[in-house]
C-alpha cells in the first residue's frame, strides 16, 4: 500500500509544526538558562554558586535521559499541561523538555567563547550586568548562538520522528508506519529525501546567517 502525496504533506506539516513550536518554547526556556549558567559561574559578572550548582546538575540529568524514555516518563505531566497525552500537540511537551536543556548547554558553550577582555572592557565602562549581557555577551557571540539554535533544530527534527510513538505524527511517523511496518520502499526513500532536504536547508540557512553576523 502506497502513501498519497496528501499524507506526505500532512506529515510534513506536522513535523514543521512540532519542530517550530517546540523550538520557540525550548529557546524561551533554554536561552535564559544558558545565560544563567554562564553569568553565575565563578568569577563571572553575577557570580552565584547557589544558582549555578543547582542548575548545572538538573540540566545534566535531563540531558542524559534518552528522548524515547522521557516521552513516556512524563506522560502524566504532559496530560497536566495540554490535557491529553496523545497527538501532535501532546508531543510538543516532551520535545520542549528534551530540547530546552540541550539549548541551555549549547548557549552556555557559545557564550563562553567570548573574549574575557570584552567583558573587562564593558565593566571598565561601568556597564550594568544586563547591559553586559545584551550589549556585549549576546551580540559578540550571536554567530555562534545561531549555529547552536541550528544544531538544536536539527536535533528536534530527529526527536520528532520518535514522537510518532505518542501519535505525534510527522515525517518520521510516516516512515515507520508505511515504510517499515508496511514495507513501502518508496515511502522510506521519500521520507529520507524530505528529511535530508529539511536538515540541509536548515543547516545552510544557519551557516549563512552566522557567517553574516560573524563578518568573515
Amino acid at each position: 500500500m502506497e502513501v498519497s502525496s496528501e499524507q506526505v504533506f500532512q506529515a510534513l506539516y506536522e513535523t514543521v509544526y512540532m519542530v517550530s513550536v517546540s523550538l520557540v518554547f525550548a529557546t524561551v526556556i533554554g536561552l535564559p538558562l544558558g545565560i544563567l549558567l554562564v553569568v553565575t559561574r565563578k568569577g563571572h559578572i553575577l557570580e552565584n554558586s547557589a544558582i549555578f550548582s543547582a542548575l548545572n546538575p538538573v540540566i545534566n540529568v535531563l540531558r542524559s535521559v534518552p528522548f524515547i524514555i522521557l516521552l513516556v516518563a512524563i506522560i502524566p505531566f504532559t496530560r497536566l499541561v495540554v490535557g491529553t497525552s496523545i497527538g501532535t500537540t501532546a508531543a510538543i511537551v516532551p520535545l520542549v523538555i528534551y530540547t530546552g536543556p540541550y539549548i541551555a548547554r549549547l548557549v552556555e558553550n557559545s557564550l563562553l567563547e567570548i573574549n574575557p577582555g570584552i567583558i573587562e572592557a564593558a565593566e571598565a565602562m561601568g556597564a550594568t550586568p544586563l547591559q553586559i549581557i545584551f550589549r556585549f555577551l549576546i551580540p559578540e557571540t550571536l554567530g555562534s548562538l545561531i549555529l547552536s539554535i541550528t544544531t538544536a533544530t536539527i536535533g528536534l527534527i530527529g526527536a520528532t520522528a520518535m514522537a510518532g510513538a505518542v501519535g505525534g505524527g510527522g515525517i518520521g511517523d510516516l516512515a515507520i508506519t508505511y515504510g517499515y511496518q508496511r514495507f513501502s520502499t518508496i515511502t522510506i526513500v521519500a521520507t529520507v529525501i524530505i528529511l535530508v532536504v529539511l536538515v540541509q536547508g536548515i543547516q545552510s540557512l544557519g551557516n549563512v546567517f552566522a557567517r553574516k553576523i560573524r563578518r568573515n
Binding site: N115, G117, I118, A121, E123, A124, M125, G126, P139, R215
Partner: protein, 363 residues
C-alpha cells in the same frame, strides 16, 4: 619594602607642604591576595603611591609583579583586600554600586589586546560607552566624530576591527576610552602587542591625550622604553610591592634597586661592551680612561671640546650611550684623555667640576 622606603622621593610641589595637592589617584597601603585552588597569591603588598593630576605615571615591573592588579583596583575591576584607593578625592571602597558606575565613567581604560567588539563598526565601538549612558543620538554622533578625527581614523568609521591594523585598533581603543570625557586614562600594556614604530605613534597619541585633554594617565608596562618616552613619574614593582618611585629622571639617573637598575640598563647601557674592553686593554697605561655620566645641559660634547681646547689634550670618545628623558639629554660616555700627565690631571679636575658624574675606569 625596606630598601624602597629609603629612596622614595616624595615630590612635593614647590612651596610649603600645606600646598601639597590631593593626588588624582592615591593608593594607600593597598594589598590584594588571591585565593585560588588552595593557594594564596599576594599580588599586591602594601602599595602606597600618589598619582598627581596631569601626570603620565608609569608603573614598570616584570610579568607577574602585580601591575595589572594594581591598575585594576583604580576602577574596582579588582577589590583590594586591604587599604584604600582614593580617586579624585573619593574612597572607592565607600561608594555604592551606582556611585561606582559614575566614577567609572570618569576613568577610561585601554588594553594590550584592544578588547574591541568584533561585531561592531569602529563608530559603534567608540559610541558604546555613550550608548550605555543613554546619551542622545545627535550628541553621540558629534562626540564620536570628534574623537575619530582626534585619533586620525575618520575614514575608518564604518570599518570593522578585523579590517584594522594593531595600531589602528589601539587608536579606536583610545577613542572609546575618551568617549565619556574622563579625567583619568588607565593603560594596561597598551603598546606591548605593537611593533616599535606603531608603539612610538601610539605613545605620541597618549601624550596628546595628556596635554590636549588634560587627562591624567596611569600606565603599566614591562618596557622601560615606554616609560622613557612619555612618563614624567615612575614606580618600579617587584613581587607585588613598589620598590622604588620618583621622577623618571631621578630613577634613571640614580636607580636604587637591582630591578630598577636592570630596567634602566635596558634603555641606557652603562656597561662597557667587549669591543671597548679590548680597546681599553690596548691603551692601558698610556692614557686616562674615564666614564662620564651626564644629565641635562651639561652634555658631553661642548664640555669635551672645551677640555680639548683648554688643556692641550686629546679627547677620544670610545663609547657612548645617550638618550633623552622628558626632553633632557641623558647618558654615559667613555672617554680617553691623552697627552702629558699634568695636562690630563688638570683636564680631569676640570671635568669633575662640571655638572656631571665622572669616574676613572681601571680596567
Amino acid at each position: 619594602m625596606g630598601i624602597g622606603a629609603a629612596v622614595w622621593k616624595e615630590q612635593s610641589p614647590a612651596g610649603s607642604p600645606s600646598e601639597a595637592k590631593e593626588g588624582m589617584i592615591a593608593f594607600q597601603q593597598v594589598s590584594k591576595t588571591f585565593e585560588s585552588g588552595g593557594k594564596t597569591v599576594e599580588a599586591l603588598k602594601d602599595v602606597t603611591l600618589t598619582v598627581e593630576k596631569g601626570d603620565i605615571f608609569g608603573v614598570i615591573g616584570f610579568s607577574g609583579a602585580g601591575k595589572s592588579t594594581l591598575l585594576r583596583t583604580v576602577n574596582l575591576l579588582e577589590r583590594p583586600t586591604a587599604g584604600s584607593v582614593i580617586v579624585d578625592g573619593k574612597d572607592l571602597s565607600k561608594l555604592s554600586v551606582k556611585e561606582l558606575r559614575s566614577v567609572k565613567k570618569n576613568i577610561g581604560m585601554i588594553f594590550q589586546q584592544f578588547n574591541l567588539l568584533e561585531t561592531k563598526t569602529v563608530f559603534d565601538n567608540v559610541a558604546m560607552p555613550l550608548v550605555l549612558g543613554d546619551t542622545p543620538k545627535k550628541q553621540i554622533r558629534e562626540r564620536v566624530d570628534e574623537l575619530l578625527s582626534f585619533v586620525g581614523l575618520t575614514d575608518k568609521a564604518g570599518s570593522y576591527p578585523n579590517q584594522l591594523s594593531g595600531g589602528q585598533k589601539q587608536r579606536v581603543g583610545i577613542a572609546r576610552a575618551l568617549a565619556t570625557n574622563p579625567s583619568i586614562l588607565l593603560s594596561d600594556e597598551a603598546t606591548s602587542a605593537l611593533d616599535p614604530q606603531t608603539t612610538e605613534s601610539i605613545l605620541q597619541l597618549l601624550q596628546r591625550v595628556n596635554k590636549e585633554y588634560n587627562i591624567t594617565i596611569l600606565m603599566i608596562t614591562h618596557e622601560m622604553n615606554v616609560i622613557k618616552e612619555i612618563c614624567n613619574r615612575v614606580a618600579v614593582m617587584e613581587h607585588g610591592a613598589v620598590v622604588e618611585q620618583g621622577s623618571v629622571l631621578d630613577v634613571f639617573a640614580n636607580p636604587q634597586t637591582e630591578v630598577a637598575r636592570n630596567f634602566v640598563k635596558s634603555v641606557v647601557r652603562d656597561d662597557i661592551p667587549p669591543s671597548v674592553h679590548k680597546l681599553l686593554a690596548a691603551k692601558r697605561g698610556k692614557s686616562k680612561i674615564i666614564k662620564i655620566h651626564f644629565i641635562g645641559e651639561s652634555t658631553g660634547q661642548p664640555m669635551l671640546s672645551q677640555v680639548a681646547k683648554r688643556f692641550n689634550s686629546d679627547v677620544n670618545v670610545l663609547f657612548g650611550s645617550i638618550t633623552e628623558l622628558a626632553g633632557v639629554p641623558f647618558g654615559n660616555l667613555i672617554v680617553e684623555l691623552a697627552g702629558n700627565e699634568a695636562d690630563i690631571a688638570r683636564a680631569y679636575h676640570y671635568i669633575q667640576q662640571q655638572n656631571v658624574t665622572v669616574k676613572e675606569i681601571v680596567s
